[in-house]
Amino acid sequence: MTTTVLLFGQLQEITSKHELQVNEMADTHTLLAELSRMYPAIATAKYMIAVDKQIISGNTKLKDGSTVALLPPFSGG
């Protein structure tokens, strides 16, 4: 199974990536551990997580084709 990860704001800057694909991630905790390994700065960054555009809290199971977005604090307006 494949998960699409979207990175915004500071996180996009830190990773120099807006979008990446990762495979075989069963849940968001596993995914975040992997992302923090790939980009250590993510481990200390402040962000919320949206799975398929819904903000989640706690560990969440991922389906094949899910999109996980890492959202730094909003600053619109």
């Binding site: 979207l6 915004f8 704001g9 996009q12 977005a69 604090p73 909003f74 600053s75 619109g76 307006g77």
Partner: protein, 148 residues
């Protein structure tokens, strides 16, 4: 048809012009059940930080999620207040200091509904819309904006 396609777009490229605000107001003159309009405009400030001045803010968004969220905010506000209509526009890309990046416009028969709906919508937009502002200084360095 995907869900996104039917969601009302709120994003505009670059600054929101003052004349556009005037035209939006003008369009409501045929709706003679309206007694009150409330408008909020967010303008980019040339803030000074460590002796460096902000010259612009560059906005990005997670657009599909932002439009869904705005749809929810709109439904919530219409359920709570007796509104005739609501219009929201938010800039994406670069908006220079002195220019407008957010335009919220509510109309109602009576002033309290229009005023409170506008104010609450602005708060929800600031708090819940996945939009990010990058403050660009005159020397081209930058920092990420934070909302209060």
């Amino acid at each position: 048809m995907s869900k996104e396609r039917i969601l009302k777009n709120i994003f505009v490229k670059g600054a929101i012009g003052a004349a556009f605000v005037g035209e939006s107001i003008q369009k409501h003159s045929a709706q003679t059940s309206i007694g009150a309009h409330s408008i909020f405009l967010g303008q980019v400030r040339a803030d000074l930080m460590d002796e460096k001045k902000v010259s612009a803010i560059e906005y990005t968004s997670y657009e599909p999620m932002a439009l869904e969220k705005m749809h929810e905010i709109r439904a919530f506000i219409f359920a709570k207040y007796e509104l005739t209509c609501m219009h929201v526009y938010h800039s994406l890309g670069k908006v220079n200091a002195g220019e407008i990046s957010l335009f919220v416009f509510t109309s109602s028969a009576h002033r309290r509904a229009a005023i409170e709906a506008c104010s609450e919508t602005v708060e929800l937009i600031k708090k819940e819309l996945p939009v990010w502002g990058k403050e660009i200084f005159e020397d081209s360095s930058h920092q990420w904006k934070t909302n209060t």
